[in-house]
Every structure is written in structure tokens, then in C-alpha cells.
């Protein structure tokens, strides 16, 4: 019984993709699934930092591929969630250190020991990106409602469709008050432009920065509203039809008499 192997990508660097990967992985693990997070970046590690495991890295994916350690030895188990592990990125800048086939093979092996493999894809559409999608069976595209992010997401969606990967969209860092005042594209605008199926909407939240600084996924704080949102995303991934949170619709009068939140 093989796992679902999902690559999280965006094209544009860091629109919250790594944080999303970490939090989604954490919430899936909380819900009882065995999850392995794979950092597919080359030379710039970040997933480990977001999870707070950066001091516990012993081996990385390149060493696994080169046979210098077993796959299980390289996996770092999260201390807070027993179902969650991470395979750290390579330290080397040498992009040829690992081929697409080798990467896909590692992901396949991981797929035999867990339920979900979440692959955090590096920025851009070059070698790191190609590696990351090599092992995947589906994709989540993360974007913000901002012009250059959407442009890059569109590019990435094109590449994913070329590979025949089913994909869904997460819109991150939404600021509902700016959407209301017409200063930010709405989620409908974004899904319209990208013609992609929506998986989740994550509002901009200042707590995320703090949680990243501490290396504690925000979904582990039970009272955080983002925890509830990620939970909904996880349920949608599992196949449940969960209505999207509405962040307030811009009524005509509300614009003039309503307050910006």
C-alpha cells in the first residue's frame, strides 16, 4: 500500500511554501497519518529550521543516495509528533549530486513506510524543481495573491500539467481587509486566473513568523486559528468536502461604513 507523494511547489521562492509543507505535515501527523517531509532544496536547507530540528541533522539525502547511510538513519523523527519525520536537504551546492531517478527512488522507498510523503520543492524551475516533482504523484501549488507570485505559479502549473500531475492550489497570506478595499486580488480572482482547483485559503498571520523563529509549527498551538485552517486543508486532502472559510464579502455599503479589520 503506497503512500500519497505530494510535491509542494510555487515557482517563486518562499511564498510560504516551506511553512505550509511543515504545517500540513504536522497536522496530517496529528490526524494519525504517518508522514515524511522531504526537503528537496539544493544547498539551502529550510524545512529543518521551520520544524526546529536543525541541530539534529546527521545525514542528508545525498548521503542516502551515495549509500553512506541507510534511509532510516537519515530520517529525523519529530519529538512532538511521533508520526512525523523529515529527510533533510543536501548541503552541497552541486545540483548534479542527485539525479531525478535517484530522487524518485528515494521517494518511492519512503512511500512504502508511510502514508504521506510531502516534498518541499525549491524555488525556481530548474534542476531542484525537476528532482522534486520526479517522485511525486500529485502537486499542491502555493501562491500569494500578488502579481509576480501568480505569474510564477502559472508557469509552474504549466510544467506540472506537462507532466500530467494532478494539482490543487493553496492561496497563502491573504489579507481580507485589503481584498475588501480592492487593494488585493481575491481568492476567486486567483483561481480564475490560474484555472486551478482550490485546496485551501490561509490568511496572513503574524503568528507564523514567531512560530518559524521558534521552530514550532503553528498548528501545534491549539488555539491558533491557523491550526483550524490547516486542519480543514488536511481533511480536504483526505477527500472530505469541507466548505472554505469566508473572510467577509465586500458589500457595497460595507465598503463605506464598515471598518477595516
Amino acid at each position: 500500500m503506497s503512500a500519497r507523494r505530494i510535491v509542494l511547489t510555487s515557482g517563486k521562492g518562499g511564498v510560504g511554501k516551506t511553512t505550509t509543507t511543515a504545517n500540513l505535515g504536522a497536522v496530517l501527523a496529528k490526524r494519525g497519518h504517518r508522514v515524511v517531509l522531504v526537503d528537496a532544496d539544493i544547498g539551502l536547507r529550510n524545512l529543518d529550521l521551520v520544524l526546529g530540528v536543525e541541530k539534529r541533522i546527521v545525514f542528508d539525502i545525498v548521503e542516502v543516495v551515495e549509500g553512506r547511510c541507510q534511509l532510516r538513519q537519515a530520517l529525523i523523527k519529530d519529538k512532538r509528533l511521533e508520526n512525523l519525520s523529515i529527510l533533510p536537504a543536501a548541503q552541497t551546492r552541486d545540483k548534479t549530486a542527485i539525479t531525478e531517478m535517484q530522487f524518485a527512488d528515494v521517494v518511492r522507498q519512503l512511500g512504502e513506510i508511510c502514508d504521506y510523503v510531502l516534498i518541499d520543492c525549491p524555488a525556481g524551475i530548474e534542476h531542484g524543481f525537476r528532482n522534486a516533482i520526479a517522485g511525486a504523484s500529485e502537486a499542491i501549488v502555493v501562491t500569494t495573491p500578488e502579481v509576480s507570485a501568480i505569474r510564477d505559479a502559472s508557469r509552474v502549473i504549466g510544467k506540472l500539467q506537462e507532466r500530467g500531475l494532478p494539482l490543487r492550489l493553496i492561496v497563502n497570506r491573504l489579507r481580507p481587509e485589503m481584498v475588501r478595499s480592492g487593494d488585493m486580488l481575491s481568492v476567486d480572482d486567483v483561481t480564475d486566473i490560474l484555472s486551478a482547483e482550490l485546496l485551501g485559503i490561509i490568511p496572513d498571520d503574524e503568528e507564523v513568523i514567531d512560530s518559524t523563529n521558534k521552530g514550532e509549527p503553528i498548528v501545534l498551538q491549539p488555539d491558533s486559528r491557523l491550526a483550524a485552517i490547516y486542519d480543514k486543508i488536511a481533511r480536504r486532502l483526505e477527500g472530505e468536502l469541507v466548505p472554505f472559510t469566508t473572510f467577509g464579502s465586500p458589500g457595497f455599503f460595507a465598503r463605506f461604513f464598515g471598518k477595516a479589520s
Binding site: K12, G13, L44, E126, A149, E206, I209, N213
Partner: protein, 277 residues
């Protein structure tokens, strides 16, 4: 070519001093690298200096859209490097900033297609024509990064006050080596969060990076609005973020000296009685 000659600044009559080539980089993506390059360039151009902005990303082009010039791009860097068009054909003019030009990135190829030596020669040629060559560096530290820093002897590192960004910036400082002069811009600061201990302060960031501080830019919604419209915030006289960029430009040209002011959270009384800012 004709157009470029007509709009060249008055100093072109005097033997031109070789321009400065500055790469704007960060390592981590989405810290506002491209927005910073665009706005710093626009602010420099607004002082009357001649500036060319070079988008060194290949495959993902964004400098043009941030500047609102996407409809005017006809040719790109690779077209020039491969000799299909002349440099003048490829340089995009901006009606709002007559002394500024844009050289757009290619969309269809990958970074490996750019010969680093050729790119370095291009930057060198641009330095002979412009006072400032600003190179927008793509995210990551692979070939795109190597291309972007080729030919630039100065660098600006853009970093947000977040752990992952600082780590990547630190890595990039290491890769830039000793030969280059490197300065720091801290972007998207939220003084209120710093005050509450929820965000790293500029001092925290620079305690690790230890770079001369070029400027600090507060997180503000008008940046998003400006990219929506394609109107660089540096050209908006009413915008405080624009003012930050204008000061950065003045520090680059040397008309402004001294350490940049770090925005602090306003105290209760300041908010009540409309204090600073």
C-alpha cells in the same frame, strides 16, 4: 539607439566614469529582492543618475512586471547575448524615469543557457554606458546566482527579519567572498511585532550578518498595491516605504551619510496624538 543618446544624462559629454555594478541578492526567495531592485533602481533614476536594471532570473521573469513594464518587453538578455538583437533594441524605457532602462530576463530557457563569462562581459559593457547597473539575482544559489554575481563588485543583501531568511543571507555572504563590498537592506520589518518580541529586530539580524546597513524598509500594504498597479512605490512621494527607498538611493550615490534610522513601534501617546510619522 537614437532615443538612448537623446535621453542620456548631461555627464555623457564628459569622459564617463565607469558605472557601478551592484547585484541585489538574498538566497531565499520572496524576501522582496525584485521589489527592492526595482524600487532602488527607480529611486536612483529619479535622482537623475542613469540606471540599467538587469533581470538575471531566467525562466521566471519578474522585474518587468513589478515595474509595470511587462507590456513593453520585446527582447531579453539571451537575445542580446546570442547576438539576435542589439543591446539598444532590448533595453526597455520607462516614461516615468527617463534615465532608467530595463533589460528583461528570458522566459523560455534555463539558467544553464547563460554563459557566465558572456554575462560578465555584458555587465561590463553596461557599466560603460550607465552610472549604475543593478542586477536582480534569482533565488537559490545555483547557476543563476553565479551568473548574477559575475561582473558585480558590489552587492546588496536583502533580508527579512526571519530566521530562515537570515540563515540564507548568511550563506550568501559567505559565497560572495571577500572581493566585494556588501551592504544590507532589512525588508518587511514590523516594529510592533519586534516590540512584542515576536519578530527579530534589525539589531538581531545584523548581529549575525554584521554588514553595513544600507536601509530598513517597513512592511506596508502599499507595496502590494504598487505591484498590483506596476507603479514603483519609490516614485510615490506620499509613501513612507517610497521614502525609505529614496534614502537608500541617496546612500548609494553618497548624498546621504550616517546610519539609517530604524523604524520603532510608536508608543501609546504617539499613536494617540499622531506622533512620529
Amino acid at each position: 539607439m537614437h532615443e538612448l543618446m537623446q535621453e542620456a544624462p548631461a555627464t555623457s559629454a564628459v569622459p564617463r566614469k565607469r558605472g557601478r555594478a551592484i547585484v541585489v541578492t538574498s538566497g531565499k526567495g520572496e524576501v522582496g529582492n525584485t521589489t527592492t531592485t526595482a524600487n532602488t533602481g527607480a529611486a536612483l533614476g529619479a535622482t537623475g543618475a542613469s540606471v540599467v536594471l538587469v533581470d538575471a532570473d531566467v525562466g521566471l521573469r519578474n522585474l518587468d512586471i513589478v515595474l509595470g513594464l511587462e507590456a513593453r518587453v520585446r527582447h531579453h538578455v539571451l537575445d542580446v547575448l546570442e547576438g539576435h538583437v542589439t543591446l539598444d533594441d532590448a533595453l526597455v524605457t520607462d516614461k516615468r524615469v527617463p534615465t532608467m532602462r530595463l533589460l528583461a530576463a528570458a522566459q523560455t530557457r534555463e539558467k544553464d543557457d547563460v554563459d557566465t563569462a558572456a554575462f560578465r562581459d555584458l555587465i561590463s559593457a553596461l557599466r560603460d554606458r550607465f552610472d549604475y547597473v543593478l542586477i536582480d539575482c534569482p533565488a537559490g544559489i545555483e547557476k543563476g546566482f553565479a551568473n548574477a554575481i559575475a561582473g558585480a563588485d558590489e552587492a546588496i543583501i536583502v533580508c527579512t527579519p526571519e530566521v530562515a531568511a537570515v540563515r540564507d543571507a548568511d550563506r550568501v555572504v559567505g559565497l560572495l567572498g571577500d572581493g566585494r563590498s556588501v551592504q544590507l537592506i532589512v525588508n518587511r520589518l514590523r516594529p510592533e511585532l519586534v516590540r512584542r518580541g515576536k519578530m527579530l529586530s534589525v539589531e538581531d539580524v545584523n548581529g549575525i550578518l554584521r554588514l553595513p546597513l544600507l536601509g530598513v524598509i517597513e512592511d506596508a500594504p502599499d507595496v502590494i498595491v504598487s505591484t498590483n498597479r506596476g507603479e514603483p512605490v519609490a516614485l510615490d512621494p506620499a509613501s513612507p516605504v517610497g521614502e525609505s527607498y529614496r534614502q537608500i538611493a541617496q546612500r548609494i550615490t553618497g548624498t546621504l551619510t550616517g546610519v539609517p534610522e530604524i523604524p520603532r513601534a510608536r508608543s501609546f501617546f504617539e499613536k494617540l496624538f499622531g506622533g512620529r510619522k
